[in-house]
Amino acid sequence: MSSTSDVTVGAAGARRQYAQRRHLRKWLEIGLFVLPAIVLFVVFVLSPVVRAVYYSGFRWDGLGPLTDWVGIGNYQQALGDPFFTGAVVHTLVILVLSLTVQQPVALALALALARNFRGRTFLRLVFFAPYVISEATIGVIWLLILQPHGPLDQTLQAIGLGFLVQLWLADRGLVLLTLFVVISWQYFGFSMILYLAGLTQIPLELTEAAAIDGARTRQMLRYITLPLLGPTIRIAFFLSAIGSLQVFGLIFIMTGGGPYHASDSMVTYMVEEGWTRTSLGYGAAMAVILGVIGLVFSLFYQRLVLRRDVAGAVTSFAG
């Protein structure tokens, strides 16, 4: 009796040991595979973020030791700085315009280019091309086009629209709109491609069935295409909004935030103050504020808008 129970205990122990080993092995494997990603994330993402928060508590020119602790002084300075609040407003203006103008245009173009006609591949390529070119190149090209008496002004005059000529980049009231047009010109192609990809996912049977039932084009758009394109639209809006919050390159090259701060975005002003003026502590504080705005927006958007898209897609660990 005793011997059999011993055996049972031994077998159970061995099984438990085996299970434990397997458990350990599983975690080791997970750890091994995840570790490089974690290391990269910690070194290149988390540690700079933590450092930025730390630096933002100092008045610091980037050269000497960190000695002048000012607490939340830099944040107070930012909120009381009319140029920073102006930069926040400019950024939000670009964000809103992107969502209300740029995205509908991209969607309309995608709907047009989803149809079957000669030359559609070529047109898709043309509309997408600006996205592939670097911001620096596009900035310089548009800078030249928009010069006073430059190609755009000459073209307008040649076709009898000379009265439309403006100081596109030198007029404080107009410069932000000009920049928005250039930004959109570069980025609408990316949203358009997203929408085109989304459109190909919509089963043809649905539109065919609707057509047989006598639905008009507008009804099909309203009741079939747009609802089924929902996830794509939500993602495209999200990417566009995040891109707007971070807008930098084109503005930095074309106006540097000028004339006299009329086109500062949050990031260009941060670079101007932080780097050019060597106020790294203040720059870090602005970076943190920008990060918080982006984070809050992302979280709310994920929670409120994107949740239904990801609800079924998350792999649960419990099973």
């Binding site: 570790l35 490089p36 290391v39 990269l40 070194v43 020119d61 980037g62 050269l63 000497g64 030791p65 030249l144 010069q147 006073p148 008496h149 430059g150 100081l167 596109w168 980049l169 030198a170 007029d171 404080r172 410069v175 106006t255 540097g256 000028g258 004339p259 006299y260 009329a262 101007e272 780097w275 050019t276 003026r277 060597t278 106020s279």
Partner: protein, 448 residues
């Protein structure tokens, strides 16, 4: 083990990335302690001062275009031939690039041994952070070979922290043909004459003045010069020394500027015009005969040349005259706004770095530099005569007559204060700030 090595590699990569191209040591020779985050005691770029062994010197400058770039390499080659144990590596960067990378590099464990410096507040910042070598004792025996006024701009609290090789004044570069066409036979000597000449030039259909206010330092020259003419050298010197721009003469400077701005004398869209990039920049417009004059430093002919199709700029048509005097102002025509270029040496650099600079600013080398007529106005005594360009010779004469040279305010102060001054003047050019508000903004910036 693999992971630790990975982490160490990452740390090294980050460090090397931070040091950028200035790091002379390859990652494999980076000391292990650097990876752990503790300061490296030594590196390939800054060995213990010894003249026997091999020495590598890194030299960061902003001379990334010819003729300066080739000239520097030639001088380096000469020096290395005479000193076989010394290797000098030049990193020539675009100006803005240089200014972005230098603070990072100075904070790293492998700072450049020799780096471009414009003296003033920027140098003071670096000195106060303990990054720059005090050269006072080491160059005492030959300091008298350099123009003493120029040396002064590279001093902090009476100690020598840098060596100049060129120094010039800001003044008017103008198109002689356009002035003649407008009936302006002699360049204006007073502000009233200047204001009277502007409409005459404008009437010929050419914009009188080039301004590239996208780069705010260009407009700041106007305010600074008017302030110097209104306030005179004593008040200007005191204002910079005491960080106080309260005197009413600084408001008057802005009011004078307003009179000019109201004449609308500038190129169209000057608020969005860059200073020096491309044919439609302020310098490019002057070079290509689209505007008549520009208030700019001694480098202007060198900048204008490459912006024209034939690479020659305005050639013989280009003239120079000093900033006019303002009636009722305390300033004299012999006082100027100016500045120059020089080099500083980082605190742990080997002694060969200074020895090389001594050679660089020697009469022989500087005579050859001056003969390039690229806007370099040598500060080495005895080398000035090598400059043959008539405008630059004129400028050199004005420099030697000068009773007072105020370093451009954006260099005289720290970058933070300097840029705030430029920004305030930009506010006036854009019509956003009034004369009194500019003065108040400048005053507030210096009090920060």
């Amino acid at each position: 083990m693999i992971l630790r090595r990975l982490a160490a590699t990452l740390a090294i990569v980050t460090l090397v990335g931070a040091c950028s191209s200035g790091a002379t040591s390859s990652p494999s020779t980076a000391p292990a302690s650097a990876a752990a985050g503790s300061p490296a005691p030594s590196s390939a770029a800054s060995p213990a001062p010894s003249t026997a062994g091999k020495v590598t010197i890194t030299w960061w400058n902003n001379a990334n275009t010819d003729p300066g770039k080739t000239f520097n390499q030639t001088v380096v080659d000469e020096y290395m031939a005479a000193h076989p144990n010394v290797t000098i590596k030049i990193s020539a960067m675009q100006n803005e690039d240089f200014k972005t990378k230098l603070p990072l590099a100075l904070n790293s464990s492998t700072p450049p041994d020799i780096f471009a410096s414009w003296g003033g507040g920027g140098l003071r910042q670096q000195v106060e952070a303990g990054k720059v070598k005090d050269l006072t004792a080491d160059m005492a025996s030959w300091a008298n070979t350099i123009n003493v006024g120029a040396l002064g701009l590279w001093q902090v609290d009476g100690k020598q922290y840098g060596i100049p090789f060129t120094l010039g004044l800001v003044g008017f570069w103008y198109n002689k043909d356009f002035f003649t066409k407008a009936g302006v036979t002699t360049p204006p000597a007073t502000w009233d004459d200047f204001l009277a000449d502007v409409p005459k030039i404008k009437a010929t259909g050419v914009a009188p003045i080039s301004l590239g206010e996208k780069d705010a330092w260009t407009g700041a020259f106007w305010w600074e010069y008017l302030a110097l003419r209104e306030c005179g050298k004593d008040k200007m010197g005191a204002a910079v020394k005491n960080n106080s721009f309260e005197d009413p003469c600084f408001v008057k400077a802005g009011e004078d500027l307003k009179t000019l701005i109201d004449l609308k004398p500038f190129n169209d869209g000057f608020l969005g015009t860059p200073a020096q990039t491309g044919a439609t920049s302020a310098a490019g417009l002057l070079a290509n005969g689209k505007t008549s004059m520009e208030l700019m430093g001694q480098w202007e002919p060198g900048v204008m040349g490459p912006l024209t199709p034939d690479g020659k700029g305005l050639g013989d048509k280009l003239g120079w005259f000093p900033f006019p005097t303002v009636s009722g102002g305390a300033g004299a025509i012999t006082e100027g706004i100016g500045g120059g270029d020089g080099y500083a040496i980082s605190v742990n650099a080997p002694p060969e770095a200074l020895d090389f600079l001594k050679y660089y600013v020697s009469v022989d080398v500087m005579k050859r530099r001056g003969a390039l007529n690229d806007g370099t106005l040598p500060t080495t005594i005895g080398a000035e005569s090598s400059v043959t360009d008539p405008n630059l010779k004129d400028l050199l004469a004005k420099r030697s007559e000068a009773t007072f040279v105020q370093l451009y305010l954006d260099q005289a102060f720290s970058a933070q204060v300097g840029q705030a001054i430029n920004d305030a003047v930009a506010g006036q050019f854009s019509g956003s700030l009034k004369a009194a508000e500019v003065q108040a903004a400048v005053q507030a910036a210096t009090k920060k």
